[in-house]
Symmetry: C3
Subunit: 392 residues, 3 copies
């Protein structure tokens, strides 16, 4: 995209609703906020593609916490997004104990500008942990413990994964020529079989909550019993009504794929399972967790044919739907015997999937820039004009 075009899509100063904000859930952000992130990410990418420095910081620390959920792609995305702005990454291992949260939060935050947290294993606990972190930081800042506070970016919780879903949205926008062109598009978000089968809900919850906002015809498909978090479908329905789109639910993957413009086949564990696992975990019932997971995997096997195959792809609009996945996917014949998609489908779509994943560093960098800068348009403009080469 041309840089001028991107700049003109950015609102003027008064528009930055994200200034000094944290990024926990897309449904706490306005449509304008979401578009602002996407535009700023595009602006940062345009600078880098032109070998122009996007160093927003001269120094500063970015802290990452990956609790119970390593993810190499997201780790590199966070590292890269922060580096692009000039921040130094410092990784925390191990979740901070609740007793000393204020103290530990301060220890890591005196000179930190952003904290990225991924903590997706436990229903409610994960998002509560992030919210407590935000509140603790606010309090410390207000009490003068630190001269400024870092802002928190959710890199994947129990309920949302805004970096992932906004990257997905941007990938679709690039594919269809703008977010406004998503209007009327049929988007199929569907459960898919995986031998692991205990993935958290962050991505399906988040994608259904976000993609229903732009006038799309969103179809959510899953086998009976594989519900998302309470409130998610209601939110999607309300979003659809507000934005002039539609939201429907089905128990048929085929129905969802039929004539779809976009398909997002992805495994998740049902909310009831995740809730029980958290309860068992609280009670330290490890044997119970094992049994629970075993039971779910057995149940999943009824639905091994929920797989994105070539013949499924043929049902989509012009047999050419845009395939989305947050990666890594479980791929039949590559990583397992039966998975979320076949090797043929994966291989045919790999480049596009990798382009999608490659947007995350820019989305992260955009979030950091937006929370620190009242006037992101001016910042991007001045970076463009200074035109410091990223490398000589």
């Amino acid at each position: 995209m041309e840089f001028e075009e991107i700049l003109s899509s950015l609102p003027e100063k008064e528009g930055n609703g994200l200034y000094r904000k944290d990024f926990l859930r897309t449904w706490d952000m306005s449509d304008e906020d979401i578009k602002l992130i996407a535009s700023a990410a595009a602006g940062l990418k345009a600078l880098r593609d032109r070998n122009i420095s996007s160093k927003f910081f001269d120094s500063g620390i970015a802290v990452s916490m990956f609790n119970n959920s390593k993810n190499m792609g997201m780790e590199f995305a966070f590292a890269s997004g922060c580096d692009m702005l000039g921040l130094t990454l410092r990784e925390m291992s191990g979740r901070i104990g609740p007793g000393s949260l204020a103290e530990t939060a301060a220890m890591v935050s005196y000179m930190a500008d952003v904290i990225g947290i991924r903590d997706g294993r436990y229903i409610e606990k994960s998002s509560r942990y992030m919210t407590r972190m935000v509140n603790t930081l606010k309090e410390s800042r207000d009490n003068g413990v630190m001269a400024q506070r870092p802002y928190v970016i959710n890199l994947g919780s129990d309920e949302d994964s805004p970096v992932q879903t906004i990257s997905d949205l941007e990938h679709m926008a690039l594919h269809f020529g703008g977010i406004e062109n998503l209007r009327g598009k049929k988007i199929a978000v569907t459960w898919a079989y995986s031998p692991d089968g205990t993935r958290p809900l962050a991505v399906p919850n988040g994608i259904v909550s976000l993609l229903s906002r732009f006038g799309t015809n969103l179809v959510l498909a899953y086998p009976e019993g594989y519900e998302l978090m309470p409130g998610t479908e209601e939110r999607a329905a309300a979003n659809a009504a507000n934005s002039g789109g539609s939201f429907t639910r089905t128990n048929s993957m085929e129905e969802a794929f039929e004539n779809a413009d976009v398909v997002y086949p992805v495994n998740w564990a049902p909310y009831n399972f995740l809730q029980s696992r958290t309860d068992f975990c609280d009670a330290n019932l490890e044997r119970g967790i094992e049994l629970l997971e075993h039971e779910l995997k057995e149940n999943n096997m009824q639905f091994v044919d929920w797989e994105c195959t070539e013949s499924m792809m043929e049902k989509t609009k012009g047999a050419a739907a845009l395939l989305l996945h947050d990666l890594p996917a479980e791929i039949t014949d590559i990583s397992c015997v039966r998975g979320e998609m076949t090797a043929q489908v994966y291989n045919a779509n790999m480049d596009s999937l990798l382009v999608q994943a490659g947007l995350r560093p820019y989305v992260i960098a955009a979030m950091v820039m937006l929370t620190k800068s009242e006037d992101p348009k001016a910042v991007l403009k001045s970076l463009k004009e200074k035109a410091v080469k990223r490398y000589i």
Copy 2:
């Protein structure tokens, strides 16, 4: 503090006695050296608080070695202090074997500007290790192995913790309006009970050695048998005599707190215990170490009432003494059943304790800048005048 005021507190060029020096023990530094570190730290903080870049380095490596003594606060302090100056942190895990010290020291040092070492577990060994590192680096430099050498900062040894104690001093100076206002203040450094109970002596040793230098009335309190390192009390007495203050020792925490302006309740293990542990360790007598630690913990239990409580705080000057601790503290009802201070005292003083801890990155950065720059005043002035924004 105003930047001009800070600048004017810095001596002119000829005054920097820390140029090309290492930072192992405060008692090897003059009063002027100590004040210089405090002023430079304040100057760096003033720059950062005004969003002005304090990048002293364009590139360069800082190496950290945390041997047998992880400490998240000090680790982030070192990372932050180095980042603020533009250095990249590289962590070494595992102590370097003595056989190959010259070789290994070179391997990590070719492009390093500073090495921060925390190695506090073993009496004598720890400081000897740091001294050997300094000597090895000097020799390598003199022999032309490297074009420059990194300087060593002690982040906590068996006998001192200069980053901590100079931060403590600076926190007190900010509280009382200047180091000169410490004259005549009653400062209570007292042993406190902790269920762990095997903490090294670096902080109490260091704080008694440093705070006795500025005309204070320093009182050291501990139960019979909980001696600091030989020579520490003698040093404090001499410092007091030299600076027109006083140094007294008591076996009563109450007496120490009585009318105190500052209280520093902190656990430590007696010198004799630490010396024996080192001997047992040399002889590989692990069972002996266990028994020794068990014995000490049993003995400690006689002194569970050496606790900083609200009623203890009421004994202090105006019931409002400044509470110091190097954190993390053992806090009754939060991290243990009986600890160094009660939850009430901790909570009432937490913001101040966190401000104290937050000074360490600046003290570290000041040390690095002072050892690399002959004229720190000119450096701070030029950073102020160039006024490069830390972030746009």
Copy 3:
């Protein structure tokens, strides 16, 4: 060396054959390429020695992968070389699974400028792994998955270690006053005893392949049966013929040392052993590997007198040969009972060995700069002219 002299040794623009190239083996590079790396390394060192910034990048990621072969010296060399240019290091632990190479390679590479890989344990597998990584990255770049691709530097494979050997070459050139002065020098590369005894072939293979190119009289010595990789001796013989030098092989360490200008005593495991270990590893025969290693160590013990001693050094030209080693060495009386060299020899040559090791960061930085810049001469010149201080 004077900066102008270094600059003049750099070819003009059209000469950079390394632009957008990877660095896997020296025998895929021309003599001009090799000299260009050495000159650029000298240029970068000259800048740093004059406290002039060599920041070529404003931001960017360097990825390191150390698979099955930790090496502190090379790790710090890579970290330092990248930092010197302005890149941020991100370490990958764990080799990437072959199934998902394209995906994983992309995840780490979106914003990476260089990937340093050390993977030396398995014959053929290691170099094949690096080659596959290069091909995967090329493909991803061609398919538009990333806007640019990182280039790969071999930090030690089964067959070569170009960073090490080019540093060795540069060290010799500095010692003898230029690469052209190596002509006619007698260089002894000889097997030496080590109690471990299972070292890979990268260094001996690489050094024989590289040092035979400059008109040297290269002598390779090893006990019968301790062959290098097939093709290496043939390559050395061809190089010698081409460059007007000579290549001979002997089974006597004494013969090799006799009147030598340079000696490189270093342990390696015979090719046949390494090949069998790889086969056993493929078949998961761990007990077989144990037996194999045991057998080799027993066999090695026949050759404990293949040791670089003072009396061996006395046989060399003027009893003053330049001693090379890639470090760490097995040193008699320091790290073992009998090793590659005696403590006396090590101590007498330590400073020179450490200077040799200290060239590696510059060689790495030179490689990165050369693959990214079409006109390295102009880059060095402009860095020199801008003369940004590395530290104030």
